[in-house]
């Protein structure tokens, strides 16, 4: 018997946004009387962290602390339309809509501040701690809380903004497939190191190395969560998962988490990842969508590593011990 080790590679790209466009999302933003900005959306956070990253985008655009932002979402009576959370579109579409809304609100904020400070709005800047200040002056400044109170009670202004992002819907030329399917593309290269038990066909993934180009990691810890969770799902798809283990035969479909096989905490590989950033011109601060793609590259990387380890080419997913062992048996010839 032997444990055979191998390394495999895969490089991929992934489109951001609904295929062919036509998937708008809106955002509304307004300041409360004490200078908290409430973002109203109908977008859904599946756990990927949308509500956190769009608040970061709003804070960046407004020039205010992150703590000044609240997100109120996913109520169709109170939030404007969002196409939904799918197609790696949430951060990109909703982020852009929020930035557009926050820009409009920032303009009003600076206009009111200019009136309060009796200066030109073009000469004002935000300092990131909550103050709007005159460029080059320590004295001429006003805190957003005071400003918001003044806007409402004194100037009769709403510090608010509207945002929408829409990539216009487009079609496909049916004869040629000519189309404009995406807003931008993120990229990844994964290297897998596996060990194959040549007596049982069991594959263990020892290491996954990932390089991801994401445009901009708005929150690097949360981008890492996507890479890490996706790498696990990709490994799970590669080695374990299916609702029809004997596809296309329908029998023996798993019905619970005992039968539906996924790697557990004892089965996870060492993971090493790094980001590159090539900001997308149409992305929120350059960000591209990476929510979906992180499960993709590990699958062929593992297939290729298995071949490298033992010479068995897996053409069918998942790469079960049976499929690997049948391949090994075929290579070894009749016993």
């Amino acid at each position: 018997m032997a444990m055979l080790r191998g390394r495999g590679y895969a490089s991929v790209n992934y489109p951001t946004g609904m295929n062919l466009g036509g998937d708008p999302s809106q955002a509304l933003i307004h300041a409360t009387t004490t200078g908290t900005f409430v973002i109203s959306l109908s977008s859904v956070d599946l756990g990927q962290g949308l509500t956190t990253v769009v608040a970061q985008c709003a804070a960046e655009t407004l020039g205010l602390p992150f703590g000044n932002i609240l997100v109120d979402t996913a109520d169709t009576d109170t939030g404007p339309h969002c196409m939904g959370t799918f197609a790696s579109r949430g951060t990109h579409r909703v982020g852009n809509a929020v930035i557009m809304a926050a820009r409009e609100a920032r303009e009003v904020m600076l206009e009111v501040a200019a009136e309060e400070l009796e200066v030109d709005a073009a000469d004002l800047e935000t300092d990131g701690t909550g103050f709007i200040t005159l460029v080059g002056s320590d004295q001429k400044k006003i805190h957003i809380t005071d400003l918001a109170l003044a806007a409402h009670f004194k100037h009769g202004r709403t510090i608010s903004g509207r945002g929408i992002f829409l990539k216009e819907p487009s079609g496909v030329v049916p004869e040629t497939g000519e189309m404009d399917p995406d807003s931008c593309q993120a990229h990844a290269c994964t290297v897998a190191v596996v060990e194959v038990d040549d007596e049982t066909g069991v594959v263990e993934v020892l290491e996954l190395h990932n390089a991801y180009e994401v445009g901009r990691a708005i929150n690097p810890a949360m981008a890492s969560q996507q890479v890490e969770g996706g790498a696990w799902m990709g490994m799970s798809h590669a080695l374990f998962e299916t609702t029809e283990p004997y596809y296309p035969d329908r029998d023996h479909g798993p019905t619970d988490f005992s039968e539906y096989l996924m790697p557990g905490p004892a089965d996870i590989p060492a993971l090493h990842s790094a980001f590159l950033e090539r900001p997308a011109g149409n992305g929120p601060y350059g960000a591209k969508g990476i929510g979906e793609m992180t499960a993709n590259a590990p699958i062929p990387a593992i297939a290729n590593a298995i071949f490298d380890a033992c010479g068995v080419r897996l053409e069918r997913m998942p790469f079960t011990p049976e499929r690997v062992l049948r391949g090994l048996d075929a290579l070894r010839g009749p016993a």
């Binding site: 018997m1 032997a2 060990e195 096989l261 089965d267 079960t320 011990p321």
Partner: protein, 271 residues
């Protein structure tokens, strides 16, 4: 729909209730999934949780384990240390906190590794019923099942001699997996030669099964690779594997000799 949940405070009370029908329940890990999906008719549940069936009592060369003893308790008991690895391979700790020794006898394959251990150990099952208490070998219980109204009260496990206990379970992941192949065996040797072998297999038949052909093949031979390989081939006659969500019958049959060898001989994989 469940019509009542009874929690009798004695075995006699449990037997009385069981005589009227109803499902006996140990930890609930087999019964409650069916209750929760409505896959039961109008029945009573009879829980053994308070029937005084817990406890692990060493008695000379054997240990009596109450049927309501949890697998977690078995796994932590000093006298039963040789079974810790087998217990550890069953489900997850939170399930083992509920699942009982008695219940595991009725776990459908490819679950029920502990039952396979009991088969290899030639355990005796204590049974209570309308006709009074009785003892029966565990393999007989597997063949015949309990009679109507009977319930398992204990298992008594003869302790294997030092170095004679073997257990190995092939799984689809490292923890918390049903058996692809489970091998439990008591193999006695004298001067390296097998004098007696009692091998039970899980995951490869509708019930845990004795590998009689493998036992015959092994007995009288040195416990080495050649003998174990021959036993592995012989064991093909002992099994009746099926396809399921975990593995195909072909795969189970194909890897059985590998796992029998890994159970009986310590030869770590060569990296």
């Amino acid at each position: 729909m469940i019509t009542a949940v009874r929690v009798p405070a004695s075995v006699d009370a449990a037997v009385d209730l069981a005589a009227r029908g109803g499902w006996i329940m140990g930890g609930g890990t087999i019964v409650m999934p069916q209750v929760n999906t409505g896959a039961v008719g109008d029945i009573e549940l009879i829980s053994l949780r308070r029937a005084g069936l817990g406890g692990i009592q060493p008695d000379g060369g054997s240990v009596r384990i109450g049927a309501a003893t949890t697998l977690a308790e078995v796994g932590e008991h000093a006298e039963l240390g040789f079974l810790a690895a087998a217990v550890h391979a069953i489900a997850a700790p939170s399930i083992r906190n509920l699942a009982t020794v008695g219940g595991n006898l009725f776990a459908p394959q490819p679950y029920g590794d502990f039952a396979a251990c009991l088969l290899a150990l030639d355990a005796t099952v204590g049974i209570a019923g309308p006709a009074g208490p009785r003892q029966c070998p565990v393999d007989e219980l597997f063949r015949t099942g309990p009679a109507a109204g009977e319930l398992v009260t204990s298992v008594t496990v003869p302790l294997p001699p030092a170095g004679a206990w073997f257990f190995h379970k092939a799984m689809r992941r490292k923890l918390n997996s049903a058996a692809i192949v489970a091998v439990a065996a008591v193999v006695r040797t004298d001067g390296g030669v097998v004098t007696a072998a009692r091998i039970a297999l899980g995951g490869v038949a509708p019930r845990p099964v004795r590998a009689f052909a493998a036992e015959r093949s092994l007995t009288g031979r040195p416990l080495d690779r050649a003998a174990v390989a021959a036993a592995g081939q012989a064991a093909q006659a002992d099994i009746d594997p099926a396809d399921d969500a975990y593995a195909s019958a072909w795969y189970r049959r194909r890897v059985l000799p590998v796992h029998l060898r890994r159970a009986l001989l310590a030869d770590p994989p060569i990296g």
